[in-house]
């Protein structure tokens, strides 16, 4: 019992002002990429009926967002709002255009008869951030310049959404396969073949013999090794739940998840760029590797909600 308790013991998570600024900057760039460049480039014609309304598109009329005039006004508005968000000004208001645009265009994009899974993680983290800011404002915390404790909560919930997404993905695999996902791994050879050829039919580029023939053959010939390789991915997804325990958990599980995505990218030509970027920004948090050692010598003042820390404990965590 003691061992179990120590395994799930949560450590305080807080971030320096510089880390928070860099996270907002990088996240704003991801929103611009996924919300404007990705989603907006693939919107249905505003005059065409949606084939299969999905999510928000089921309950709200969203097709006006695909109107070229709205897009022309909307894009600079989103960009200006995100700029204000990056400097930390009134995020309840300044994140609103990005939220409307990201959720609206994403729902439209997924209402054309097929569902893509590239941008949901960005939309969910954005929604979570905005909701935390709204709750903070509702609790009469300064809303034009959110206090550091609230900003920490925003980042914590970003990590939480990312971890929960991966954990959910792991649960779905176990549920859909009646807990037999690992046993069925050899059949992934067919899925590798499909992924590689689908990528070729999409791009017009010839397939690589290694990916289209050697990899499926290797999976079938060495099923236990394949189970170990792909099973590690499933384990990493399930470990996503524990990213909220401490900076160290978030960092190492995050590095593992990025390695998993890179492996999938090499073997199956399926890229989840947004997933990797968000894990890199909020969980791995590369700037902390350089900023934290300095901070250990000059710790931030304790936040109102933060327990007393022993000197150097924050650094020791890393």
């Amino acid at each position: 019992m003691k061992v179990l308790k120590s395994l799930v013991q949560a450590r305080p998570m807080s971030w320096s002002p510089a880390e928070r600024l860099l996270m907002r900057l990088a996240f704003a760039a991801v929103i611009l990429f996924s919300g404007i460049l990705w989603n907006a480039a693939k919107l249905p014609d505003p005059g065409v009926d949606l084939k299969d309304p999905n999510g928000l598109a089921k309950v709200l009329p969203l097709q006006w967002l695909a109107d070229p005039g709205v897009l022309m006004v909307g894009k600079p508005l989103v960009a200006a709002g995100l700029l204000a968000y990056v400097v930390g000004f009134a995020p309840v208001l300044t994140l609103w255009p990005a939220l409307v645009y990201m959720l609206g265009t994403g729902a439209l994009r997924n209402s054309m008869g097929d569902i893509s899974h590239h941008t949901q993680i960005v939309a969910m983290v954005l929604l979570a951030q905005w909701l935390v800011y709204v709750v903070g404002a509702a609790r009469r915390q300064p809303w034009t310049k959110p206090p550091p404790a609230l900003q920490d909560q925003v980042i914590f919930w970003s990590v939480l959404m990312i971890g929960a997404s991966y954990f959910a993905s792991g649960i779905v695999k176990l549920k859909a396969s009646d807990l037999e996902w690992i046993q069925r791994v050899p059949a992934l050879s067919v899925q590798v073949f499909k992924a590689v050829w689908s990528a070729s039919y999409s791009s017009g580029e010839p397939v690589s013999g290694f990916k289209a023939e050697t990899v499926p053959w290797l999976i079938v010939q060495h099923p236990h090794l394949a189970r170990l390789f792909f099973g590690t991915g499933l384990l990493l997804e399930l470990l996503g739940l524990f990213m909220v325990l401490s900076h160290r958990h978030a960092r190492w599980i995050g590095i593992g998840l990025i390695a998993m995505h890179l492996g999938i990218s090499v073997v199956m030509e399926i890229d989840f760029v947004n997933h990797m970027l968000l894990v890199l920004i909020f969980a791995v948090n590369v700037p902390s590797w350089f900023l934290r050692p300095k901070l250990s010598g000059t710790p931030e003042p304790a936040m109102p909600h933060e327990p007393e820390r022993e000197p150097g404990r924050a650094a020791a965590e890393h």
Binding site: V8, M124, A149, A168, V172, K175, S198
Partner: protein, 164 residues
């Protein structure tokens, strides 16, 4: 949200940060794919057969789908299946009559051609005169693989700028 979820010492089990994280995950699984929410179900059900969609010209040369139609093979396959479901009530082309496959396939190709990128079509060495929709199926039986290509429908198009 409460302060206790991240940084304060946990006094009660429900204040532990794993609790909201698990709760969000359960919510995502329960709600399913409803943008912006998703449990990310890709490759959750590993099947021993897989279908791929390709569109060729009259010479049976595969057309680069993402460049010409702004959507990849996997997305277009789901759209064709949706069209098939709307017309016949099933997403499985094997379960419907050949004439139903042709009707759904031609409706899909008409939509596809209507949404083409005219500039990129014009850049092809020769714009297609005919679009051919095909489904390629890969199967696995033990250590043996099967590979078949099934023609669904053809649609004559009159080249760049023309209407089918």
């Amino acid at each position: 949200m409460s302060d206790s979820e991240s940084n304060a010492p946990q006094r009660r089990w429900w204040q532990h940060p794993l609790v909201p994280c698990a709760a969000v995950a359960v919510l995502l699984v329960a709600v399913g794919d409803a943008y912006p929410l998703s449990p990310f179900p890709m490759y959750s059900n590993i099947d021993t057969s897989a279908n791929m969609l390709l569109v060729t010209n009259e010479k049976d040369e595969a057309l680069p789908l993402s460049r010409l139609f702004n959507s990849g093979s996997a997305q277009l396959k789901k759209r064709f299946e949706k069209e098939l479901q709307d017309q016949t009530g099933t997403r499985e082309y094997q379960d419907v009559k050949p004439e139903q496959q042709v009707a759904a396939g031609q409706a899909f190709l008409r939509d596809l051609w209507a949404g083409r990128d005219k500039g990129d079509v014009a850049k092809l060495p020769a714009p297609p005169q005919v679009l051919r929709l095909k489904i390629r199926t890969m199967t696995m039986n033990g250590t043996e693989f099967g590979d078949t290509i099934h023609p669904i429908a053809d649609l004559a198009v009159t080249g760049e700028g023309g209407e089918p």
